[in-house]
Assembly symmetry: C2
Homo-oligomer: 325 residues x 2
């Protein structure tokens, strides 16, 4: 029989199905297990934010939910909305016996109130297992809660010597087809994609999702442009700090070197996707311009490798910005 930890991992995996599509709600995952250890319901926050994960899982389980255990990646909400009853009440009404929670909801309207409501109804509640993984899976929502801006991912596709192009600007291709397909999948997990004015002028990028079945998942295009000028249909910001006002909790930055550097200098990059091809360019275009670093000591202790994968012949490394608290 699987452990609480394994079921929570399954719930978190479900939550990732709608990363970048549940604004203004968090992308939550829920799995319902009966007393015999059978999966009787699975749910994840649906595109647009409703139904919530718990509602979807309870709907699937029906009467079988009575006496079951619910595994949820985030504390069930305790605040009623015009869009439906709160999830804590739904779980109580369905007769669930036990709720295991990865992460307590930082939203002040819930923040412990969901667990309290469940306990008051006689339900056993546990929380805290796999909290870091749940946090990573809901980074967009949590960054919006904590920093009032989208979570920012910077994507770089570089040679071993850190170049994004030859000196003459040629960049097709550094990485191979598998790495580029994965980069398109990453686009599908973001509501927003941003490049600099220079990249638009040089490359006229489409920034769409060229993967079978995912063509409709292209993120909203944004440009960082000091003049405020933007192609038709694009959003524009003049400074990195203005991302706070963009619609969406996940922003992907795709270039070029000056734009990437501007966001790094503003310390507004949370996650770094480094696609690396096993090639040397030599004297090519560096992936970053000046980021305002004066003392080499300050460069250390900021980035932690959290994932590394092979897309032969290339490698992807994922780094996360380490921040206090």
């Amino acid at each position: 029989m699987a452990t609480d930890s394994a079921w929570l991992a399954a719930a978190i995996a479900l939550s990732r199905r709608t990363t970048g599509r549940t604004v203004p709600n968090p992308n939550v995952g829920c799995i319902l297990i009966d007393s015999a250890g059978r999966v009787i319901g699975r749910g994840w926050t649906q595109p647009g934010g409703r139904p919530h994960a718990e509602a979807m899982a309870l709907d699937e389980a029906g009467a079988a939910a009575r006496g079951a255990t619910a595994y949820v990646s985030l504390e069930p909400c305790a605040h009623e909305s015009t869009r439906g009853p709160c999830c804590a009440d739904l779980l109580i009404g369905a007769g669930v016996a036990r709720v295991v929670i990865a992460l307590t909801d930082p939203d002040p309207r819930t923040n412990g109130a969901g667990s309290a409501r469940l306990r008051a109804a006689g339900i056993a509640v546990e929380a805290g297992l796999r909290a870091d993984e749940a946090r990573a899976a809901m980074a967009g929502f949590l960054t919006r809660q904590q920093h009032r801006r989208p979570a920012v991912t910077l994507k770089l596709a570089i040679s071993l010597d850190g170049c994004i192009a030859l000196a003459d600007g040629t960049s097709q291709w550094i990485t191979g087809a598998a790495a580029r397909a994965h980069a398109h999948l990453e686009r599908a997990r973001h509501e927003l994609i941003l490049v600099g004015r220079g990249t638009i002028a040089a490359d006229h990028p489409r920034l769409d999702v060229r993967l079978p079945g995912l063509a409709d998942r292209a993120p909203r295009r944004c440009v960082l442009s000091q003049s405020g000028a933007a192609p038709e249909g694009w959003l524009a910001i003049e400074r990195p700090e203005e991302i706070a006002g963009l619609p969406g909790d996940h922003l992907l930055i795709e270039g070029g070197a000056k734009t990437a550097a501007a966001f790094l200098e503003a310390d507004l990059v949370d996650r770094l996707l480094l696609y690396r091809a096993p090639i040397l360019i030599g004297g090519g275009k560096p992936c970053l311009t000046d980021i305002g670093l004066i003392d080499l000591t300050d460069a250390h202790g900021r980035w932690r490798l959290v994932d590394a994968r092979t897309f032969a012949p290339d490698r992807l490394e994922v780094y996360e910005r380490m921040r206090a608290g």
Copy 2:
């Protein structure tokens, strides 16, 4: 009981003990196993090239060598020398019953003649298992045989964005103490170490081996200098191709960007040690200047990742140049 493959791996591991110290001989490893599967002798080519691995192992085994199996990383030599009898005759004389060889000796004086001599004496001979590993362990000797020059390793210590220093030249430190200690260990495996004239002027590097017990293993220092000028006691070459005349089969290149690029442009780098710190510099000094690349297509298919290790918080990647034949 261990397999032939496992014993050969052990012999190859022994051979690595004297990498960079056996010129003009290859660094060979030998292990003798009796009929009960016990190790009765171990040998590796000694500093300076003598005794050979087989002689050392047979000396340890003594009379127990009769009927034993010898595992050797390289075909036993068949050519007598003023410095001692050939290893094939030593194995025959000791009554060894079977010889398992990883790699056939490309030296025209042996090249199959060692095996033939053993077989003529009634010894069972097998060859070819773990040949690639043996080739990697004896890269210096084999490169000298095949290309009439030392094997060349280029070491780069860089940030994630491929920089070796801030724009003002500050480079202490990119990588941490563990990575730097490993880089010193790599020095101990080379007879020769080379930097450019600019690096000498800027950094006055000692290029010694600052590890306990290995202080006497500092490689001979060389400079690439178009003027031919060199500090006292240093060797000097004016062009990368002149490495053919340097004394030693293992050359380590440590900088700077122009020197590294000169060797890459001449296609004289066989192995790349990439120490990478999890830091971003942005607009710093790139690790390579122009290497003469015109078409991005030509950059691909040249480098293969053969090892990756963590020296927390840094990572080492080892790439090998793929060459036809």
